[in-house]
Symmetry: C2
Subunit: 269 residues, 2 copies
């Protein structure tokens, strides 16, 4: 999916919602008896017209055991071609090895994008960028408490690590193949992040369960292609626990989509 196609989806649906498919059998409605694929299909059916992206986190599928990746592949196949699918895997290794991770995410699983950790530098990221028509989403500023430990620390010349990652990485990949993970716990931060990389999309976790401020993020972070994919996982997945759980999930997604439609009207340049 190209950047123009993604933006067209956003305009058509008036939504830049990404649904995080982090299915945990222990949190799913009991009547599903831990059937993650059935759960995912119900969530996808209930939210398909309200979101432009799905983001399964690979850890949740590894947790299902040796057949977990089969569940993930079946989930991605069920989503189909009209949504942007992100394998949230946070991979990264020497070039020779990153190449295998890229092949698994893009060829075996069929994802459009994979999240990648920047610690090992350019040659750990480039093999992901070599896939034409696929996307790399690099961790920049995450929304967890531990982001304070290294990401905010000043680098040479007083530039914090996350800013150095973003600036450096724009030499590795264009806005048509590279996005950044930018956490949402402080919405005002998005003005600075957007100034660093005016054109790139940001994948924004931390809305919903983690308490981010959607309007503030949009006000500070939106660009002329929207430039934001805002993720919600738990707030949508576990909105209901009875046989009507998918309707509750749809309501949660609809609430976010409604706010997003308003934000697009107000903040899209």
């Amino acid at each position: 999916m190209t950047r123009a196609e993604l933006f067209a989806q956003i305009q058509e649906k008036q939504s830049f919602l990404c649904v995080g498919l982090d299915a945990d059998p222990k949190k799913m409605p009991p009547h599903l008896k831990g059937d993650v694929l059935a759960f995912n299909k119900a969530i996808i059916d209930a939210t398909r017209d309200l979101c432009v992206a799905y983001k399964p986190n690979t850890a949740f599928y590894e947790a299902l055991g040796l057949d977990g990746m089969r569940v993930l592949k079946d989930t991605i196949a069920y989503i189909g071609e009209d949504h942007f699918v992100i394998a949230d895997a946070k991979r990264g290794d020497i070039g020779n090895t990153s190449r295998y991770y890229a092949s698994f995410a893009f060829n075996t699983l069929g994802a459009n994008a994979i999240t990648v950790a920047p610690y090992m530098g350019a040659d750990s990221v480039e093999p992901f960028l070599e896939y034409e028509g696929k996307w790399t989403i690099l961790l920049a500023l995450t929304s967890n408490k531990g982001s304070q430990d290294f990401q905010h620390a000043s680098q040479d010349g007083g530039v914090p690590l996350y800013a150095k990652v973003m600036t450096r990485a724009t030499d590795w990949g264009s806005a048509d193949q590279l996005m950044f993970v930018c956490g949402a716990t402080k919405a005002e931060k998005f003005a600075e992040l957007r100034a660093l990389t005016p054109d790139h999309f940001f994948l924004v976790p931390g809305i919903g369960a983690q308490g981010g401020d959607l309007e503030g993020v949009c006000k500070n972070g939106m660009n002329d292609h929207c430039g934001l994919l805002v993720n919600s996982s738990r707030g949508i997945l576990y909105a209901g626990q009875d046989e009507d759980f998918a309707a509750a999930s749809r309501a949660a997604a609809l609430s976010l989509q409604t706010q997003m439609a308003k934000a697009l009207k107000n903040y899209l340049p």
Copy 2:
């Protein structure tokens, strides 16, 4: 396996060799017709008495497709209890999610240790450290070219990122549960790394195919528990290409073990 048990193995075998089980069907001897498990078993049988650790990199098993993790689990089961098994996965995510990665590596696969990326900070690493009797091996200074991009950059007070990672992480985990990945391309660097963390083991890639200097690493990096696991992958795995490939692998491992025995004699305090 405890630190004392690992050191006992090192003394008994006069070796701190880790064999990297990065099996690539395209590089394996042709007569094996891509049977990775058969290849791994032959390599393990040929090197078992010469090494103390095996390190399969998960990317190579993902590359085998959806059943790759089954091959990895069977490989780890074949290794047995007497060796230290490292799942080289370079994982790391928010705490809730890292917990699943830890469970997969330790419970599902049965590894003794997993490599972890530090970018997301304390709460991304701690879930791995919570497993009693298991080990976390944190990326500090890697041996690839891209390590220059962020790891060497100065942090607050002129401290480079890798040093900050090592110093900070010693607050998270003791030398009985935490190791560091320290690349070997410049052996003199190990004096500095050892001063930062006197007691922790270092997992050292980059010997052999990547051209590291084994004696220099030992001279600068060894501590009173040896404190080094030196990895070789390609140099051992692909030493031969005919039906006698395992004998060639054994010869390559023996050559390293012989150097290690000498280094233990010369440099173990």
